[in-house]
């Protein structure tokens, strides 16, 4: 068995490779349609057409706005409180050690099972959806922020002291910039799981929102609607994530 270092792949532009991936997915989609039939799935083309029509209906936008409201609310709380608490837990050893296993446990349980409790506490409506979304998002943000703070190299702290900086100035100019990439990763993941939580809450017990529309479409077997909504949510989530990811790469490259 001979081992040579793997030769570098010949350079295709990144856009070209993404195009191949998207093309592959669309072809797979079309094939799945052939297997499943018209009753079960719509073709890519049909779905795009339906989506275009859907985007001009008021009904869609009312629900999209409702989802957007819940999502934005959950983000506002989770992505602000999350880093703040995470930083506190990161700098205060004991709190961090106490909190971490709890957060890790929260991260891995099916949080949906707690939704009825949230509904009982907050009642049906926006508050419960925001609470549920926040519950989802705040956990990874806290975990990643805590870790980011803990991973700050001690030599940076010593450098700060050697430069005679006050604790606050040191945090602001040296420590938090150093921890920023990893904190941002937590925010990015928090964004995605907040979306997951928001949509899920609407799929279960709501009268509005895109999740609700999705379940309603399932109830009347409106395959076109199901596929269109699925496509839109997938597209929104992936594109948002890709944008956040490119910011994140920049941050990491800086360090």
């Amino acid at each position: 068995m001979k081992i040579e270092r793997v030769a570098a792949v010949s350079p295709l532009s990144r856009a070209g490779e993404v195009a191949i991936l998207v093309g592959f997915l669309i072809v797979a989609w079309q094939l799945l349609h052939y297997l499943a039939g018209d009753i079960a799935m719509t073709t890519p083309l049909q779905t795009f057409r339906y989506t275009a029509r859907l985007l001009v209906t008021q009904d869609f936008w009312v629900n999209a706005a409702a989802s957007g409201q819940a999502f934005a609310g959950a983000l506002a709380i989770g992505l602000v409180a999350g880093p703040v608490i995470g930083i506190l837990f990161g700098f205060h050893r004991l709190s961090g050690e106490v909190a971490e296993p709890i957060l890790v446990a929260l991260y891995s349980i099916p949080k949906v099972i707690l939704y009825p409790i949230i509904l009982l506490v907050f009642g049906l409506g926006l508050a419960a959806e925001v609470a549920f979304g926040t519950l989802h998002g705040i956990v990874p943000v806290m975990l990643f922020t805590m870790n980011a703070v803990r991973n700050i190299k001690p030599v940076l702290v010593r450098t700060g002291r050697a430069l005679g900086l006050s604790t606050f100035a040191m945090m602001r100019t040296i420590l938090l910039p150093a921890a920023l990439p990893e904190i941002f990763t937590g925010l990015r993941i928090g964004f995605s799981v907040t979306l997951l939580g928001t949509i899920m809450s609407e799929m279960f017990g709501s009268k509005r929102g895109l999740g609700f529309l999705l379940m309603q479409a399932l109830g009347v077997n409106d395959v076109q609607m199901i596929m269109a909504l699925t496509l839109m949510l997938v597209a929104f989530a992936s594109i948002a994530n890709a944008i956040l990811m490119s910011f994140e790469r920049q941050l990491y490259r800086r360090t």
Binding site: M1, K2, I3, R5, V9, E17, I20, L21, F24, A36, I39, A40, M41, R93, L94, E97, V98, P101, V104, A105, S108, I109, P110, K111, V112, I113, L114, Y115, P116, I117, L119, L120, V121, I189, F191, S192, L195, L196, I199, M200, M203, F204, L214, M215, A217, L218, N221, V223, I226, M227, L229, T230, L233, V234, A237, S238, A240, N241, A242, M245
Partner: protein, 256 residues
């Protein structure tokens, strides 16, 4: 460095905190501060949990959920591992699949649930597929990670010892990547539970998630909290066992 007083203190504080929380809830529920229809006292939750073990329907639900989780997990571990190996072996495919891998978990996987119900009907298949879809990629990513982190010097060592491909894979690569495979499996287990139970909760004809939503919709607080507690206990116990096992394995390796 983290042994001794550091860890123990945190454990004590945490246990104390949780105990206080439970006590506060108990008192608040019993004194009517928290209304009965919102939450039943923790002690009654435990009683309900024990009673549920004699409830045939609930046991059937548990069986259904665990079976779905098991199937989803088994498939995810095998397929995820195979995918990870394939991506490692074909760098071009890896580069093309890369955007998919990085955005995969940003998509709320449950949006596919209605589509799967249309395709397969309202039975156990859609939720098992969701569990599979949720768990498979994290296994693939960790497998790929583990393979890539095999130090190049190990490959050279294999040649010096005249190992065949199979021997290298079995006796060198696999043990070396082991911790990463374990991490992948840990996540896969958690995600399989989330996928199956989440789906059951949204819409299903059986399973523990269904039992919780059914109990909620029918104001059966005791059953609802009992099953919630049951699910939490199972998942937390499994995760704790995995973490403990992992710590033992890693300590021997000195954290490598």
């Amino acid at each position: 460095m983290k042994h001794g007083f550091g860890i123990r203190e945190a454990t004590l504080v945490r246990a104390a905190l949780l105990a206080v929380l439970v006590a506060v809830l108990e008192i608040a529920c019993r004194t009517g501060l928290i209304q009965r229809f919102t939450m039943i006292p923790p002690s009654e939750m435990v009683v309900s949990l024990v009673r549920l073990f004699q409830n045939r329907d609930v046991l059937a639900d548990a069986g259904q959920t665990l079976l779905s989780v098991f199937i989803a997990l088994a498939c995810a571990l095998v397929a995820g591992f195979a995918m990870g190996v394939a991506l490692y072996a074909f760098p071009r495919a890896r580069r093309i699949a890369d955007p998919l891998l990085t955005t995969y978990y940003s998509v709320p996987v449950f949006v596919f649930y209605p589509l799967l119900i249309v395709l397969f009907g309202l039975n156990a298949i859609p939720k098992t597929v969701i569990g599979f879809l949720y768990a498979v990629v994290v296994m693939a990513i960790n497998t790929l990670n583990g393979l890539e982190r095999v130090p190049f010097v190990y490959w050279k060592t294999a040649q010096v010892h005249h190992l065949s491909r199979m021997q290298t894979a079995l006796h060198l690569i696999l043990p070396c990547a082991g911790p990463y495979l374990f991490t992948g499996a840990k996540f896969a287990i958690a995600y399989a539970f989330v996928g199956v139970i989440g789906s059951e909760f949204i819409l299903s004809t059986g399973g523990l998630g269904y039992r919780v939503s059914f109990a909620y919709n029918n104001f059966q607080s005791d059953v609802m909290y009992g099953v919630i507690l049951f699910v939490l206990v199972i998942v937390v116990c499994i995760n704790m066992a995995l973490y403990a096992w992992e710590r033992v394995l890693m300590e021997r390796r000195g954290g490598r």
